[in-house]
């Protein structure tokens, strides 16, 4: 048997009211404060947010910082990789070259004394050699590798017909590098001889004062003298196949991509909210009709409608297809948002607090703006962040197949399409836009992921 507790009279005294039993030990957090806290704890989402903000600054402020025309062609620096600023030697203006003719005296099957007639520049390389008796002409080859030992002469540049015509002027896409020039004799039948004479040349980049001024490398009044070095326009990320600055094109491309990527989702998400709330709140037969229509819109093929809109808008050849693209995205992409919002509204309508609010006399407008929208905002925000990368990707894809921007306006997708042709020889033209597309899509996706976790009510209060 247990012994009874020893009770004292004090135990029967009335209890003193303690005021701090339910004191809250930490500051109160609203839903949004909690969401922000959880978002900030998610390093992936925060990095992505930083990248997204960085991309926006890149697109918006870029043109002020990097004031280069994205359509300007620098034909002297075509398909150049990322590099430091180049310099060019100022030379006398180019004059037409009549060439060299010399009557042959020596015979043989190979030319002698292959040499430069003038210093070699990127403007022109002028070659001359000693004639050969009995030749009907000479073929000039150029390679960026030494032709020895297996007679790999490189590209056949051209020929000089006639035994006495012993010169060749090469102006074809000269780059400041070393070339091996080879000359082969054509025999009486016009057949190439096996023997060849070769000679290597280091070409220097050069321009005349007039050209420098015409291309805007220098001002009209700047004093330039022949023989000095002039710094050429700087292309930190290189140039494309027409010598256009990659950095400037990427900045302007970002504008197109982010414009479509942000504006289109905002518009179609807004449409989706309105449409979904009406369907969900009114319910009944209207809901049925609205939702069947939404399903009908989902079934419409996007690409076909994009083309139809382009025609309906009267967008002629060579005009930008960005606006029809925007319209097509907005008109065809709202149903998923509408469905989501409708579902949320249907759910919230059943909640006790809504019924309570109704019993207390709340009007429809109050219910929608006080209870429904704030409670669906999290879902909407997540939808929006996931819609952005998909819109960016759609834009890139459409520009890639030539349905988007019109040249010379750049967009990441069209730049990738241009770059894919020279993927092996000049990979930077493909890699830069491709990397930017990937980064933008990934950053928005990870941000959306983080937002979804942060705004999830069930995760509330957890790390």
């Amino acid at each position: 048997m247990s012994t009874p507790a020893h009770l004292t009279p004090a135990d029967f005294a009335p209890a003193v009211m303690e005021r701090h039993v339910h004191a809250i030990s930490r500051p109160s957090l609203s839903y949004w404060q909690d969401a922000v806290r959880r978002l900030r704890a998610n390093w992936r989402a925060m990095t992505s947010l930083g990248v997204v903000i960085g991309l926006c600054i890149f697109a918006v402020a870029g043109p002020w910082i990097w004031q280069v025309d994205p359509a300007a062609q620098d034909v002297d620096q075509i398909s150049q990789g990322p590099s430091l600023p180049a310099t060019a030697l100022i030379v006398e203006p180019g004059t037409a070259w009549a060439g060299v003719t010399k009557e042959p005296t020596a015979s043989g099957d190979v030319v002698a004394n292959l040499r430069l007639a003038e210093p070699a520049t990127t403007q022109t390389v002028r070659l001359t050699w000693e004639p050969v008796v009995g030749a009907t002409g000479y073929v000039v080859y150029r390679s960026i590798y030494d032709p020895a030992p297996d007679r790999a002469l490189g590209l056949p540049l051209g020929d000089s017909l006639g035994a006495n015509r012993v010169s060749y002027e090469d102006r074809l896409d000269l780059k400041p590098q070393r070339y091996w020039y080879s000359v082969v004799v054509l025999d009486a039948n016009g057949a190439e001889q096996q023997a060849y004479e070769t000679f290597s040349v280091d070409v220097v980049r050069a321009a005349s004062i007039e050209e420098a001024q015409a291309r805007g490398w220098t001002t009209q009044d700047a004093a330039l003298t022949v023989g000095t070095q002039l710094t050429l326009p700087f292309h930190p990320l290189g140039t494309d196949y027409l010598g256009r600055d990659m950095l400037a094109r990427l900045i302007y491309g970002a504008r197109v991509s982010l414009f479509i990527g942000v504006v289109a989702p905002i518009l179609f998400v807004l449409i989706g909210i309105v449409y979904g709330s009406i369907a969900g709140f009114v319910g009944g037969r209207l809901d049925q009709v609205l939702m069947r229509f939404a399903e009908f819109v989902i079934a419409l093929p996007f690409l076909l409608f994009m083309i139809l809109f382009k025609i309906a808008f009267g967008i002629g050849p060579g005009e930008s297809g960005v606006i029809p693209m925007l319209v097509a995205l907005v008109i065809l992409d709202w149903p998923p948002t509408a469905r989501l919002v409708r579902g949320q509204i249907l759910q919230i309508r059943q909640e006790g607090y809504v019924s309570a609010s109704q019993l207390l006399g709340a009007k429809t407008g109050y219910l929608v703006f006080r209870h429904m929208i704030p409670n669906t905002l999290g879902v909407i925000l997540v939808t929006l962040t996931f819609a952005v990368p998909s819109a960016i990707f759609t834009e890139a894809f459409l520009s890639f197949i030539g349905m988007g921007v019109a040249p010379p306006t750049p967009s990441w997708g069209s730049m990738a399409n241009d770059g894919i042709r020279t993927m092996l020889s000049h990979p930077h033209e493909l890699i830069f836009p491709a990397v930017l597309i990937s980064i933008a899509v990934l950053a928005f996706n990870l941000l959306g992921d983080g937002l979804r976790d942060a705004l999830d009510v069930r995760m509330r209060g957890r790390e």
Binding site: A71, A72, Q73, V75, D76, I78, R142, S143, I144, Y145, D150, R151, A152, L153, G154, L155, P156, L157, G158, R171, L172, D173, A214, Y241, L242, G316, P317, G318, E319, G402, A406, P407, P408, R421, T422, L424, S425
Partner: protein, 555 residues
């Protein structure tokens, strides 16, 4: 991530890779059974004496009477033969005819009695008469009927003024063909090498009706090769014609054409794999070709390329000052050396390419074209005059029609930037596939177009008559009586020096009037297996020509 999740990921990855590999294997197996037994994969075979080549495109028309393109021309040049043909050195040599005679008023051809169709029956003079009559018959609607206008009554029959049997060509006997000329045609021997002049046997054509030339079995051959397979859009196979009169000189037994593409990266990869015996190179492949130490060769295909203007009344390009302004800032040298950057291309500043023969030597050396001094300031003055004449403050955006090829895109964007920078003109690029570009060019749906023209015969007239107001191929609708008069002189005169003077005058008018902006003569750069010899690349006629090709052991 937990260990279980990692393990699951690894498993999924492995399974995915496995399924992918299985799918690839299954697909490649499926491709071999549906490929119709194509012997793809071997560039050449020394034992069977066969080679594998590519075509740029599916031949659009193998009916020699109607054909108008170089791809069909290449195929027809191997499977058919005209009265005469070009040899490896581009000399006219006997074909079906063993000897011939050309007089100022007509020509006679004596056909060899060993010439056979692929079914063993002899090729007779009647086969030529039948073919030529149907070419000029307006019901045939041949694009190339005009090339038979040198034959008496050709033009009258083609414009429905006479019945086809009035054409000035007769079969004196089975082996003698006599032709009457409408006007003197000193180069008639070169004309008869052209596919439009090829023979067709009436009874065979009648047996096939509209299906004639639609498939390999709907063609009868008299050339060095026969077509044994033609899977449209996929592959073609040519085999040696055992009935060909000169069969002993043909050293290849088969030509396989399993690739129909003009995409140079694809061609170069196929060549590298040993699937093609030759491949054309684009500028993107030059570095690789040099690195792999290939023997690169080059030829000019004879064609000229230019910016054509639209002279239809509603078009701003009808204004001479606008065209002059554009002419004064367009530098063919820069286009060829910097933009196109392919060896073999030559800057062009005339209607006539540099290779055309003139009186004694080359036409362009005897009659150099008037020089254009490029000047942005002058161009801007002309542009201001043009605006005044057109009554506008700003020239409306000009539509530049171009092919959708790598090179055409590059050129079009270069022009767009050039005219914006120098003249502040807006250019809209209208990229179209080849067929559609031609259709829009014919319909006049452009302001400017990047166009080209290949020669049909080695006389300046093949380019000169292009801008005559009465020529159906004058798609810009340029109409200048002074120019037409020169074309008439060149067509009707037998005095070569008078003709050459007329061509020089056409050349001058074209530049003075800025009728078009010549940019370049096209060149081609290619690699070829060193075992293959005797292939001919030429400006006029079958190109490339494998008739005399043969294989040797590796050097």
């Amino acid at each position: 991530m937990s260990r279980a999740a990692v393990r699951q990921l690894v498993w999924l990855g492995l399974a995915g890779t496995g399924i992918f590999i299985a799918l690839m294997v299954a697909l490649s197996w499926a491709a071999t059974i549906t490929g119709g037994g194509t012997t793809a994969g071997r560039a050449f075979d020394l034992d069977t004496k066969s080679i594998t080549i590519f075509l740029d495109d599916e031949p659009p028309q193998l009916d020699s009477r109607r054909t108008s393109d170089t791809i069909s021309g290449m195929v027809l040049g191997h499977i058919m033969e005209g009265l005469l043909r070009y040899d490896a050195r581009n000399q006219v040599v006997p074909g079906v005819a063993e000897r011939w005679e050309i007089r100022p008023t007509g020509a006679t051809f004596w056909l060899r009695n060993t010439a056979r169709w692929s079914d063993g029956k002899p090729v007779t003079a009647h086969d030529f008469v039948f073919a030529w009559r149907t070419v000029v018959d307006p019901a045939t609607a041949s694009d190339y009927a005009f090339i038979l206008y040198y034959v008496k009554n050709g033009e009258a029959i083609n414009s429905s003024k006479m019945p086809p049997d009035q054409l000035g060509v007769r079969a004196i006997s089975d082996s003698v063909l006599e032709v009457d000329f409408e006007r003197p045609a000193a180069f008639f021997d070169k004309l008869v090498t052209f596919p439009t002049y090829f023979p067709i046997r009436q009874d065979f054509q009648a047996s096939r009706g509209v299906r004639y030339a639609a498939d390999a079995q709907d063609l009868l051959f008299n050339g060095p090769f026969v077509m044994t397979r033609w899977a449209h859009g996929a592959n073609i196979r040519l085999e040696k014609n055992q009935e060909y009169w000169n069969r002993d000189a043909i050293r290849l037994n088969a030509i396989d054409i399993p690739y129909i593409t003009s995409d140079t990266p694809t061609l170069v990869n196929l060549f590298k794999d040993g699937s093609l015996v030759w491949a054309r190179l684009g500028p993107e492949q030059f570095e690789e070709a040099m690195k792999l130490r290939w023997n690169v060769a080059r030829y000019g295909d004879g064609s000229i390329w230019y910016v054509d203007f639209n002279f239809r009344p509603e078009r701003p390009t009808r204004n001479l000052n606008l065209r002059r302004a554009l002419q004064l800032v367009t530098d063919p040298n820069e286009i060829v050396n910097r933009v196109i950057a392919i060896p073999g291309y030559k800057p062009l500043n005339s209607l006539f390419p540099a290779w055309l023969p003139g009186l004694n030597g080359l036409f362009r050396q005897e009659y150099p074209p008037p020089a254009i001094t490029l000047s942005i300031d002058e161009a801007r003055k002309h542009l201001e005059m043009a605006k005044k004449e057109l009554g506008v403050d700003q020239i409306p955006p000009l539509v530049l029609l171009s092919d959708d090829t790598i090179l055409a895109n590059k050129e079009a964007e270069y022009f767009q930037s050039l005219y914006k920078r120098t003249l502040n003109l807006d250019i809209r690029i209208d990229k179209q596939i080849f067929k559609q570009r031609i259709a829009k060019h014919n319909a006049g749906d452009f302001d400017m177009v990047l166009a080209g023209w290949g020669p049909d015969y080695a006389d300046p007239l093949t380019f000169g008559d292009l801008y005559a107001s009465f020529n159906g191929n004058n798609r810009s609708l340029y109409n200048n009586p002074a120019y037409d008069a020169q074309v008439r002189i060149a067509q009707n005169s037998t005095d070569q020096s008078a003709r050459m003077d007329a061509f020089a005058e056409m050349q001058r008018i074209m530049i003075e009037d800025a009728v078009h902006l010549p940019t370049h003569e096209r060149g081609r750069v290619f690699v070829q297996a060193p075992q293959l010899k005797g292939v001919v690349h030429r400006a006029i006629g079958t190109e490339p020509d494998f008739t005399d090709a043969y294989l040797v052991e590796a050097p």
